[in-house]
């Protein structure tokens, strides 16, 4: 009864502290939202600016129709044909996969065949280049229809995408899940600064002079942090889905597991930082470095595959890589919980969480004086 009452009062205090702390709102809610909006606007490519795009052209069997199209495409100022002439379909698809070209255009096989095929890499399907090529080609096909004799439209554009790996999501989904992972991770890594502040002000010491149960205090703090993260998930998801048209297919159970493990691990990381930081500045320094590194090395904004080879091993050990992946699995692919790769990721996060928590506890114990008897 008393324990329950204590928990209630401590939780209420934590809630009020969080609601009244403007910094928490700025860094936890406002900042991720702004960051996500900026990235989505820039990279989802709704811009009309002039640009050039490189494509591959495949002419399976030359015929009058395809010849005509080829010559016209070659004359379009914004489209540059790689190697200047048609290549084999195999070659073209390879280029698309390796992202050496933005798209491959496959011309009709005969004058009777009525379709032009556009092949793009799924990962930048929503990207500026792919959108533009498709748009240009669309217009071009319409023109071709008009030129072609006959009453009904003859050519239509077929759209197909190739993926270079398991990634089968568009950039909005990718960025949305990445941002959710990042903001929860940052919440954990930066949030524990409260602990440093409480220690510096002597509040921990003050609480230890009372019979207050510090375990309950820690628990109420943790529950508060998890709730805050849930608010982050919901808010970012709503903006992603409603404003930027992200598509989420959520496996709730997997999501809960990934969320809990991830959030706890990053809080453990923050706890570890707090155990050796004497001042808020020191803590913020460490947290900033780690968060900055992870932000760019963990595939939050761009897929890890697009990064230089030598960086990829670093990504492979960072917990945020797996947290972002786990969230993508559970929020975009609806992946069930019984997936080996998912559990491998969860294991990496658990290891990070457990090791940093233990290290932090040891450091705290070593410094704590008689207080805890």
């Amino acid at each position: 009864m008393n324990t329950l009452h204590q928990f209630k009062m401590m939780f209420l205090a934590q809630l009020k502290l969080t609601l009244r702390e403007k910094q928490a709102w700025f860094w936890g809610i406002f900042f991720p939202v702004i960051l996500m909006v900026i990235f989505m606007v820039i990279f989802s490519g709704n811009s009309d600016e002039e640009f050039k795009t490189e494509v591959a052209i495949v002419e399976p069997s030359p015929n009058p129709a395809s010849e005509m199209m080829l010559s016209q495409i070659s004359e379009l100022p914004v489209i540059e044909v790689k190697s200047g002439k048609p290549v084999t379909r195999k070659k073209a698809e390879e280029w698309v996969k390796d992202q050496e070209v933005d798209a491959a255009i496959i011309l009709p096989e005969s004058a009777e065949a009525s379709s032009v095929l556009l092949v793009v890499n799924k990962e930048n399907e929503q990207g500026a280049a792919a959108q533009a090529v498709s748009g240009i080609l669309d217009k071009f096909v319409q023109q071709a229809n008009l030129l072609a004799a006959g009453a009904s439209p003859k050519y239509d554009l077929q759209y197909e995408s190739i993926t270079s790996g398991t990634n089968e999501l568009d950039y909005t989904d990718f960025l949305l899940t990445g941002m959710i992972a990042l903001s929860i991770a940052q919440g954990g890594m930066f949030g524990m600064v409260d602990l440093v502040e409480m220690r510096r002000k002597g509040l921990i010491k003050r609480l230890r002079m009372t019979p207050a149960n510090m375990g309950i205090f820690g628990l109420s703090d943790m529950v508060m942090r998890l709730l805050f993260s849930i608010v982050q998930i919901i808010l970012l998801s709503l903006i992603g889905v409603l404003v930027f048209g992200a598509n989420l297919y959520i496996n709730t159970f997997t999501l809960i597991i990934v969320f809990l493990i991830g959030a706890l691990s990053f809080n453990a990381l923050g706890y570890f930082f707090s155990s050796f930081s004497k001042t808020t500045e020191a803590y913020m320094g460490v947290a900033n470095i780690c968060s900055f590194l992870m932000m760019f090395l963990s595939g939050v904004f761009f897929p890890i595959e697009t990064m230089p080879e030598w960086i990829q091993p670093i990504s492979a050990v960072l917990p945020l890589t797996y947290f972002a992946d786990g969230l993508r699995e559970s929020m975009v692919y609806e992946t069930g919980i019984a997936t080996a790769s998912l559990w491998a990721g969860i294991a990496v996060m658990v290891i990070w969480g457990a090791v940093t928590f233990l290290l932090g506890s040891v450091l705290y114990k070593r410094k704590t004086i008689a207080a805890d008897r």
Partner: protein, 309 residues
Amino acid sequence: MTVLEVRNLQKSFGSIKAVQDISFSVHAGEVFTIIGPNGAGKTTTLEMIEGLVSPDNGVIHFGELDWNKHAVSIKKKIGVQPQSSAMFDLLTPEENLNLFASFYDHARPTEEILEIVNLTEHRKNHVKKLSGGQRQRLAIGLALISDPEIIFLDEPTTGLDPQARRNIWDIILHLKELGKTTILTTHYMEEAEKLSDRVCIVDQGNVITLDSPSALIEKLTDEREIRLSFLDGEKAAEDADGFSKELASVSKTEREGAALKIWASKPEETLLDLFKFTKDKSYGVEQVSIREMSLEDVFIAFTGKEWRD
């Protein structure tokens, strides 16, 4: 009855010997004051007693209880106002008190505490926005919320205005009426003299002396310092100086211009003789005083050092 006994406490921080050898016992219902200059080891002593710092050596007993076996019971018995008042800055006084109240089974009602420390008016302001004195009063309130038997106040009045200081004196005297035991530290001799049943003077980690304020002063010499200043200038003072040196009870004199200081073991008689003399000579005298001995003199007598606030 002894509620707290400490014996041979010692604590070093690296090469600094903060507490070298401190022993005392505190009786139920008394106000026990530890006084000493900055760095004397007052806070360190209190923190050892409060279970925050483990002593290098020595024993601490709360009656039957000691920290090794009865930590929780002791924590329920004591209320602490630390020297640096730590509380939740983004909560209000009321919320801070309510939170701390939840740590105890039998807490006093928050309104009562707010009333006692005179913060009812500010109960809904964030602590961040309170003045230093108001914070200090809240810190004392937090120490009282559990209705403790033994209250530790580490410099409760430092930095307060005279009104607020008197306010806190009233609180301490009220606690005494309720039969609570208070252990406090201070830099103000006047405060120690006014409030305490017993005073423990510490310096450089050692107990210099320990007794009731009046007993401490009585232990000092019965000599008093008389000060006079003469309206008729230096000449009159010189005459009077010569006269008083002849008196039996006077041990020493000091003259500075028209001002004269006389140390005498029977100050009233000496003054009577002096006034007879000045009347005969018809010298005008202004500003006559006998300076009472205070704890400050006790400190000076024991340490040979000036007392500095």
